[in-house]
C-alpha cells in the first residue's frame, strides 16, 4: 500500500465509521467504543502511510480521481511535510476519541449521534486537507468537511445561546478564510499549460507558473500571497483575527473536541502557510521571490500574535477560555518561527541557512509539541469540568487533593507550555530563540522580537501558574469540597486518565530526548518535495550530539537529560539536607492572623491574581500606570493660619 492509498484508506475508514456511528447512536457507550475502533484503525493506517512516506524519502504525487475539464483531481502528495502533519493528526485524534467515551457521559441531554459521526468526518477532512495538492476543488471540499463538522461540534450544546453564537462566528470566519485562500489560488492559477500534471489548480501547475508571474506581475502575486496569509492566518488565530473567533469557539465545544480544535485543526493553518509560502516557489527561482519581506511580515505578525494572545490569556478566569487564548499565543510562536525561517532564507547567505533550518525545525517542533501539551491541557480542563462541573477558575481550588493524577498531568502540560527545561515546550522554544538571537544579521530588530518571545514565555508561565494554582492548588474551595463530598471521589476514570497520560508521557519524552523529535523533523524535511522549502532538507539543522543533545551550528547546546539529571541531583542534595535534623511534621491550618478561621471568601481566586500586571498589559492600563498619581484636590481650610503651612522642608 502506497502512502497515498494509506491516507485514502484512513479517510474512508473515518467516513464509513461515521456512518456506522450514526446508526448506533442510540447506544452511547457502544458508539463510543465503535468510534474508538474506527479512529484506531484510521490512525493506524495514517501512521503507516506517514511512516512509509518518511521512510521512502521521496514520493511522487498519486492521482485517484480526475475531471480534467474542471481542473479537478484528487491528487495526494504525501511528502515529508504532509506526513508530519498526518502523524500529528493521527496521534492526537486517538487519545481524544478515547477520552470522549467517558467524557460524553456528562451530556446526558445531548445525543452522541451528533458527536462521534461528526468528529470522524472532521478527522477525515483533516487528513485530506494536509495531503491534497488541489488548491481549489478538493481544498474546498476538505475545508468544508472540516468547517461544517467543526461548526456542529462547537454548537454541540446547542441549547446555550453563547455556544450557538460562537459556532456561527467560527463558521463565518472559516468561510471567509476559505474564500480568501481560494481567490488567492484562482489568481495564481492559469491555463494548464506549462508542465505539471496538466491540471489548472494543481499545486505543481501553480508552482511552475509562479516564476513567470513573479517577474511580470509581482504585485498581483503579492496580493495572492496576502490572501493566503489572511486565509490561513484566520485559521491559525493570527492577530488580529484570532481574537474574533478562537476564544469563543474552543470553550464552547466538548473538551476532547476543544483538544482537537486547538491541537490539530489550527495546525492546518500552519500547514497551509508553510506549504504555500515555502513550497510554491521553485527552489531554482528563489531570487525573484521576496522571501525576506514575507518573512518579516510573518515574524512581526507572529510576535504581535504571541504577545497579545498570551496577554489576553492573563485576564481570563475560565479554564478553557484561558487555554484558547494561549492557543493564539502559541500559534504566534509557530508563525514567528516560520517567518524567521523565511527571512533568513531570503538573506540568501549560506551562513544563515542553517539558522533558517533551525527556525523552521523549531516551528515544526512547536507545532508537534503544542499539539501534545495543548490537547492535554484541554483534556485536563475537560476532566476538571467533568469532575467539578465548572470552568470558572474562581470557584475551583484545591483539586490536587481530589484528583492527584490529573493534577500531575496538568502540571506537566502547564510546565511544558511555559517552556520549563526538561519538557518538550522548552525544546522547540529554545530552537526558536537560538534562531532569533543568532539570526540578527537578517534584521536588527529580530533579537528584540525574540526577547518579546521570551517575555511572553514568562507571561505564559504566569498564566499557567494561575490556571494550575487556582484550579489544583490552594485550599479546596467550598464548591469543590461540596462536590467532592457529594460524589465521594472526583478523580476521572482510567480511560480518561490513560488518554491524558499518553499525551503527558509524550511531553516528557520529547522534552528529555529531543533528538528523537528532531530526527523526525529532519526526516520530514529531507522527504519534502520540490520547492523553496526543499532547501531545508539539504542541510542538517541540528545534529543530535549524543543520546539527547541538541546542538545548533556550534552556537549553543542544551543536553536536556543532563539538565534534568543535574537538577535532580541538586534536589537530592536538598532532600538530604532537609532530613538532616530529623524534623517532625505536623498538619496545621494556614495562618490567618490568629482570630478568624478559614472561610471560602479568603481564597485568593484567579480574579485576584496579578492585578497590576493585568492592568499594565492593556494599553489604557499601561498609560494609567505610567502617569504619576494625580494629586487629590486639597481641602484648604479658609481660616488655616500661616503658621507652618506651606513649607515643605524641615530643619530651618
Amino acid at each position: 500500500m502506497s502512502p497515498g492509498q494509506g491516507v485514502i484508506a484512513s479517510l474512508l475508514t473515518c467516513l464509513i465509521g461515521a456512518v456506522l456511528c450514526g446508526l448506533t447512536a442510540s447506544r452511547r457507550r457502544l458508539t463510543g467504543w465503535l468510534a474508538l475502533a474506527v479512529t484506531a484503525l484510521s490512525s493506524g493506517l495514517a501512521l503507516y502511510a506517514a511512516g512509509k512516506a518518511l521512510a521512502l524519502g521521496s514520493i511522487e504525487p498519486e492521482m485517484f480521481l480526475k475531471v480534467e475539464s474542471l481542473g479537478f483531481a484528487l491528487t495526494l502528495h504525501i511528502d515529508g511535510l504532509s506526513a508530519f502533519f498526518i502523524l500529528l493528526i493521527a496521534s492526537i485524534a486517538l487519545p481524544a476519541v478515547f477520552y470522549s467515551i467517558d467524557y460524553m457521559e456528562t451530556y446526558p441531554e445531548y445525543g452522541v449521534g451528533r458527536y462521534y459521526p461528526v468528529l470522524l468526518v472532521f478527522v477525515a477532512a483533516l487528513y485530506g486537507l494536509v495531503s491534497t495538492t488541489d488548491m481549489m476543488w478538493f481544498f474546498f471540499i476538505f475545508w468544508q468537511m472540516m468547517t461544517i463538522p467543526g461548526f456542529l461540534l462547537i454548537r454541540f450544546e446547542h441549547r446555550r445561546a453563547e455556544n450557538r453564537r460562537a459556532a456561527l462566528k467560527f463558521l463565518v470566519m472559516m468561510e471567509i478564510a476559505c474564500l480568501a485562500t481560494m481567490i488567492g489560488a484562482e489568481m495564481l492559477a492559469g491555463a494548464p499549460a506549462d508542465g505539471g500534471t496538466g491540471l489548472k489548480y494543481d499545486f505543481a501547475s501553480v508552482s511552475s507558473r509562479l516564476p513567470g508571474l513573479l517577474e511580470q506581475r509581482p504585485v498581483w502575486v503579492a496580493v495572492a500571497f496576502g490572501l493566503f496569509l489572511t486565509g490561513f492566518g484566520i485559521k491559525l488565530g493570527m492577530w488580529p483575527f484570532g481574537r474574533v473567533w478562537l476564544p469563543d469557539a474552543h470553550p464552547a465545544a466538548p473538551s476532547p473536541m476543544s483538544a482537537m480544535l486547538s491541537g490539530v485543526m489550527l495546525k492546518t493553518g500552519v500547514y497551509g502557510i508553510m506549504r504555500y509560502f515555502l513550497w510554491l516557489v521553485p527552489l531554482e527561482r528563489r531570487a525573484a521571490y521576496p522571501a525576506w519581506e514575507w518573512g518579516a511580515v510573518m515574524t512581526v505578525l507572529g510576535t504581535i500574535t504571541l504577545l497579545t494572545g498570551t496577554a489576553g490569556a492573563l485576564k481570563q478566569e475560565q479554564t478553557k477560555r484561558l487555554l484558547a487564548f494561549h492557543s493564539i499565543g502559541q500559534l504566534g510562536y509557530i508563525l514567528f518561527g516560520v517567518g524567521m525561517a523565511m527571512m533568513l532564507l531570503g538573506m540568501d547567505d549560506p551562513r544563515l541557512e542553517p539558522l533558517a533550518v533551525t527556525a523552521f525545525a523549531g516551528a515544526l517542533l512547536h507545532t508537534l509539541h503544542h499539539a501534545t501539551f495543548k490537547s492535554l491541557l484541554f483534556l485536563n480542563a475537560g476532566s476538571v469540568l467533568w469532575s467539578a462541573g465548572t470552568q470558572d477558575l474562581n470557584r475551583l481550588g484545591g483539586l490536587a487533593r481530589w484528583m492527584p493524577w490529573t493534577a500531575v498531568a496538568a502540571l506537566i502540560a502547564s510546565f511544558s507550555i511555559s517552556g520549563v527545561p526538561g519538557l518538550n515546550g522548552f525544546i522547540s522554544k529554545w530552537a526558536l530563540y537560538v534562531a532569533g538571537v543568532e539570526g540578527w544579521p537578517a534584521a536588527s530588530w529580530l533579537p528584540v522580537c525574540t526577547a518579546i518571545a521570551i517575555l511572553t514565555s514568562a507571561l505564559t508561565l504566569a498564566s499557567f501558574l494561575k490556571f494550575f494554582g487556582a484550579a489544583f492548588l490552594g485550599r479546596s474551595s467550598a464548591w469543590v469540597g461540596q462536590r467532592g463530598r457529594e460524589r465521594g471521589r472526583l478523580e476521572v476514570t482510567w480511560r480518561m486518565q490513560t488518554a491524558q497520560w499518553v499525551l503527558a508521557v509524550i511531553c516528557v519524552v520529547a522534552g528529555l530526548l529531543p533528538a528523537v523529535t528532531f530526527g523526525l523533523v529532519q526526516l520530514a524535511l529531507k522527504a519534502g518535495h520540490d520547492g523553496l522549502g526543499a532547501v531545508f532538507g539539504t542541510m542538517s539543522p541540528a545534529t543530535p550530539a549524543f543520546l539527547a543533545g541538541v546542538r545548533t551550528v556550534g552556537h549553543g547546546v542544551v543536553i536536556a537529560v543532563l539538565v534534568v539529571l543535574g537538577i535532580g541531583a541538586g534536589m537530592a542534595v536538598a532532600w538530604l539536607l532537609s532530613r538532616l535534623g530529623g524534623a517532625p511534621r505536623r498538619r496545621v491550618a494556614p495562618w490567618l492572623c490568629g482570630y478568624v478561621t478559614h472561610e471560602d471568601a479568603m481564597r485568593v481566586t484567579a480574579h485576584g491574581l496579578y492585578g497590576h500586571l493585568k492592568s499594565g498589559l492593556s494599553p489604557r492600563g499601561w498609560a494609567r500606570m505610567m502617569r504619576p498619581p494625580a494629586p487629590r484636590p486639597r481641602d484648604r481650610r479658609a481660616d488655616a493660619p500661616a503658621a507652618g503651612a506651606g513649607s515643605k522642608e524641615f530643619g530651618s
Binding site: P447, V448, T450, L455, V563, I567, L577, R586, R603
Partner: protein, 311 residues
C-alpha cells in the same frame, strides 16, 4: 572509552567541588551581609556565622504542613535549591564551569526562572491568603525580571555571535563593534533592578514582612523554610556572580588563582552594594515596582535593538 569515563568522572568531581564551595560560602556571605547592614544601622549585629546557625536551627524544627498537599511545598523547596546547585555547575565562578560545554546562555535564563518557580509552587501550594498574595506579587516581578536578564544575555549573544555561556554571558554585552552603547544601557538597567533578583529591599515586594508577612514563604517552616533560606543565600551569591560575569568581566586575564580571587572580590563588591542599597531604601509598592521594571524592560529592549544594529 576509558578516557571518556575519566572525563565524565572529572566533570562530576568538579561539579561536586563547585557545589560544595557555594554551599559553604553562601551562609557565610549572609552573615557578612547582616554584619554590614548592622553596622550601617549603628547596631552590633549577629556573629558572622549566624547564617549557619539559622539554617541548623531550622533544619531541626518542626515542619508545619499548611498545604492540603503537603509534599508539594517541600518538593518545590527541593526544586529551588536543586536548580541553584545545578546553576553553580553551569555558571563560571572565577574559572570555567564544569558543565559549560553542555549548556548555553538561554538555559541559564531558564534556570533563574526555574529557581523562582519553586518559590511560586510553594506559595500556591500552601494556599494561605497571604502566601497567595505573595505569590501573585512574585509572579508579577518575575515576569518582568526574567526577560530583563534574557535581554542582557541575548545582547551578549548578538555581539559575540554565540550563545555559549562563556561567550554570551561573559562580558558579551560590551563586545560591540563600535562604542558599547547597548552594554552600558543594559548595565545600568540591570543594576537598577538587581535587588529584585536577590529579593532585597527596595524590591522585596513578594515577601514584604510588614505588609504580607513574608508572602509566599509564610507557610513554610522547619526544613522547608531552611531550604528556602538557603536558596535565598545562594541566590545572593550566584546572581551576584552572574552579574559580575555579565557586566564586570575585566581583570581576569591572568588566569589561575589570581583570577579566581579577583572574581570573588568583584562578586563581594556587588553583594556589598546590594546590602548598602537595601539599607538605604524603603520598599517600593508593588505597582511602583512593576512600573519600574516595565520601564527598565522597555529600555533594555531598546538597548537590544541597538545591539542588533551593532552598537
Amino acid at each position: 572509552m576509558g578516557g571518556e569515563l575519566k572525563t565524565i568522572a572529572g566533570t562530576a568531581a568538579a561539579c561536586v567541588a563547585q557545589v560544595l564551595w557555594v554551599l559553604l560560602l553562601a551562609p557565610l556571605v549572609e552573615g557578612l551581609v547582616r554584619k554590614l547592614t548592622a553596622r550601617i544601622q549603628s547596631r552590633q549585629g549577629p556573629p558572622i556565622w549566624q547564617g549557619w546557625f539559622d539554617l541548623l536551627k531550622l533544619l531541626g524544627k518542626e515542619d508545619l504542613e499548611a498545604a492540603e498537599v503537603p509534599w508539594l511545598p517541600r518538593a518545590a523547596a527541593f526544586l529551588s535549591l536543586g536548580t541553584l546547585l545545578f546553576m553553580a555547575c553551569v555558571l563560571p565562578l572565577g574559572a570555567a564551569p564544569p558543565l559549560g560545554e553542555q549548556t548555553d546562555a538561554i538555559l541559564l535564563v531558564h534556570l533563574v526562572t526555574l529557581a523562582g518557580l519553586g518559590a511560586l509552587m510553594a506559595g500556591f501550594g500552601a494556599g494561605g491568603t497571604y502566601s497567595l498574595i505573595g505569590s501573585s506579587r512574585e509572579v508579577m516581578v518575575m515576569v518582568l525580571l526574567e526577560p530583563l536578564l534574557a535581554v542582557a544575555v541575548v545582547a551578549g549573544a548578538v555581539h559575540r555571535n554565540s550563545l555559549a555561556v562563556a561567550e554570551a554571558a561573559r562580558g558579551g554585552v560590551f563586545a560591540a563593534e563600535g562604542f558599547p552603547w547597548s552594554g552600558l544601557v543594559l548595565l545600568v538597567v540591570i543594576l537598577l533592578a538587581f535587588p529584585a533578583f536577590v529579593q532585597r529591599v527596595p524590591f522585596d515586594v513578594a515577601e514584604a514582612e510588614t505588609e504580607i508577612m513574608e508572602g509566599w514563604l509564610m507557610e513554610c517552616s522547619g526544613p522547608t523554610l531552611a531550604l528556602f533560606k538557603y536558596t535565598a543565600m545562594l541566590k545572593l551569591v550566584l546572581y551576584s556572580a552572574l552579574f559580575v560575569n555579565l557586566f564586570l568581566p575585566w581583570g581576569e586575564g591572568v588566569g589561575g588563582v589570581g583570577a579566581w580571587l579577583w572574581f570573588w572580590v568583584k562578586t563581594g563588591a556587588v553583594i556589598a552594594l546590594v546590602a548598602t542599597v537595601a539599607a538605604a531604601h524603603a520598599r517600593y509598592r508593588t505597582d511602583q515596582a512593576v512600573r519600574w521594571f516595565g520601564m527598565m524592560l522597555a529600555a533594555a529592549l531598546g538597548a537590544l535593538w541597538l545591539a542588533g544594529l551593532g552598537y
